[in-house]
């Protein structure tokens, strides 16, 4: 929890990792990819405050003790959701598998939730692995990374028929939340791999699943926002928005937050630190302190108040995951800022969703 000016914030870190990207875990013959991947993440860290920067060696693999300290002792987080990304083409034991993450859950069951994953290209064997992991960890959510390499394949779309088969099974197994992360590659390579239209189809076809688009579809915020206004079950995961922009590009942070508040609305935005890229502490403290500047160029954007910050930092994700929030952290009554579907009102040429 975090307290500022007498206000108490219940914090759910809805997108974080416990990875092993150390050289010992690099697949022989694929070292350049394993190295390039973690160096890319490390470059993102440089967008945070200088005093939080780590050496690449430390960044590649943090200890359980360090993670516990940075998330909970110093980081104000109440519940952290561990996302699983396998990348077994590059990392021998996986980048961060459900089993690695599950170890933390077993040690600290009140602090962590683990999300599983599947890869639709793994066929029946992949389905059996997914089912077994769901049976073991009972997740409410999964994380899908569409640019994961798999043999000769450079990625998949959520709208692929085989992916639908997995999503249907996931729903039968009790999955409610699907976190999606787009990456730079897909088949075929001549298409824009970051395009989010496949999620649009899925969100329509699976109305009972929630789709949390991590990094708000960066670098395609515009496509994401257009989609999110039309799909009531699409959420904006703020990982990278806060970590990558709030400190390094405060001007664009104001603008991007303004757009998200306008198009998506504070009821459908969730905080994620993206740990181990960035620590939650400075992100949460800065976000609570942040206010839309009172200037003409921001006048069109909705304002974000204390209630909205409470929703984004924890209450929205708590609702998605059924996390019990103590009474003192809950909002007394429904209050907030409307999203685009309400602002645009009648006569909007776009289908409206939500209200």
């Amino acid at each position: 929890m975090y307290e500022k000016n007498g206000e108490k914030y219940f914090v759910v870190d809805s997108h974080m990792h416990f990875w092993d990207a150390s050289p010992e875990n690099w697949v022989q013959g694929a070292e350049q990819y394993a190295k390039g991947w973690i160096e890319c993440f490390h470059a993102y860290q440089s967008l945070g405050p200088a005093e939080t920067h780590q050496s690449i060696e430390e960044f590649q693999k943090v200890s359980e003790e360090q993670l516990m300290r940075e998330e909970f002792d110093e980081g104000h987080v109440d519940v952290a959701i561990l996302q699983s990304t396998y990348l077994r083409e590059w990392y021998k034991d996986g980048f961060n598998t459900a089993a690695q993450n599950g170890h933390l859950v077993e040690q600290h069951p009140d602090k962590f939730i683990v999300n599983c994953r599947f890869d639709p290209r793994d066929g029946d064997a992949g389905m059996r692995e997914f089912e077994a992991e769901v049976e073991k960890w009972h997740p409410k959510g999964i994380k899908l990374y569409t640019a994961e390499w798999n043999g000769d394949s450079r990625g998949f779309k959520l709208s692929d028929p085989e992916c639908y088969r997995f999503l249907e099974r996931a729903q039968e197994l009790g999955i409610k939340n699907v976190h999606v992360h787009k990456g730079p590659t897909i088949w075929p390579l001549d298409k824009d791999a970051f395009d989010v239209s496949d999620i649009d189809h899925c969100a329509t076809d699976f109305p009972d699943l929630n789709f949390i688009i991590e990094h708000v579809g960066l670098p395609r915020i515009e496509d994401f926002c257009f989609m999110a206004t039309q799909e009531p079950n699409v959420y904006a995961g703020l990982s990278v928005v806060i970590g990558g922009l709030m400190h390094a590009r405060p001007y664009f942070f104001n603008k991007v937050m303004g757009e998200l508040l306008f198009w998506v609305g504070e009821d459908k935005m969730t905080f994620g630190s993206d740990y181990g890229i960035w620590e939650p502490k400075w992100q949460i403290e800065g976000f609570v302190d942040w206010e839309m500047p009172d200037r003409e160029e921001y006048a069109e954007f909705p304002k974000l108040g204390v209630a909205g910050k409470k929703k984004i930092l924890g209450l929205n994700a708590a609702a998605l995951y059924g996390i019990e929030v103590p009474a003192e952290y809950q909002l007394p009554a429904e209050a907030g800022t409307p999203g685009a579907h309400e602002v645009l009102g009648e006569g909007s040429p776009q289908p409206v969703a939500g209200a």
């Binding site: 470059a43 590659t185 791999a193 970051f194 926002c225 922009l245 645009l344």
Partner: protein, 248 residues
Amino acid sequence: MTAPVTTRSARAEAALAALETVRDPELDEPITSLGFVVSCAVSAAGDAQVRLRLPTYFCAPNFAYLMVADAYDAVSALPGVRRAEVVLEDHFASDVINDGVAAQAGFVQTFDGEAVSELHGLRADFLRKAVMAGTDQVCRPLLAAGKDPAALLAMTLGELPPSRALDRLRGRRADLGLPAGDDAALVIDPVTGERVTADAMPLHLRKARLTRVSIEANSGICRGMLRHRYNNTLGEGETPPPDDSGEH
């Protein structure tokens, strides 16, 4: 502003000027000002050597290919150049892209089995985004000066005061084959080229604003990562963005 002392030859200057016409299709900025050009040299015999770099090892390979191929075309077309070599460094697909561009193989052949078409469609998609962002750039000052959005509907490009933003918007529209002359409508649908209707105008302007925010925010992130990756060493012709300090 004083120009830095440079030992660049006139030939290299010409090559660098040619590279200034090459843009990152996603960020809609020249690869020079973004800092993507590591070096650019042309020998007395006319052999050009260009080295490029990108913010990450995993930047999207289709955009990377376009920049390398466009750089090759721009430098090869110079009168004093008899042979050009463009090398992308430190990228997962460096070898494939460099070899493909050198052989002028096209994207499909370069990424054999991994692509089904050339990149014209991708390029057009991002030109349309650039048109949307450019629309916000030229309309925002008009709106800030008190013009009603409805008034923009009837305006033509020729009614706007000259500006770099306007030149840029005209250029992107022309690249797409859309009307770009003085009598062309100011606000058009970037797919059909038709003047936007009154009903669609409010949403269109909001989309234009959002598209610009998206591109500019991405540009900010890319620049930050490039700086970290290459230890703050500047590229040839690199310029900081006008609003890098945070405010316009």
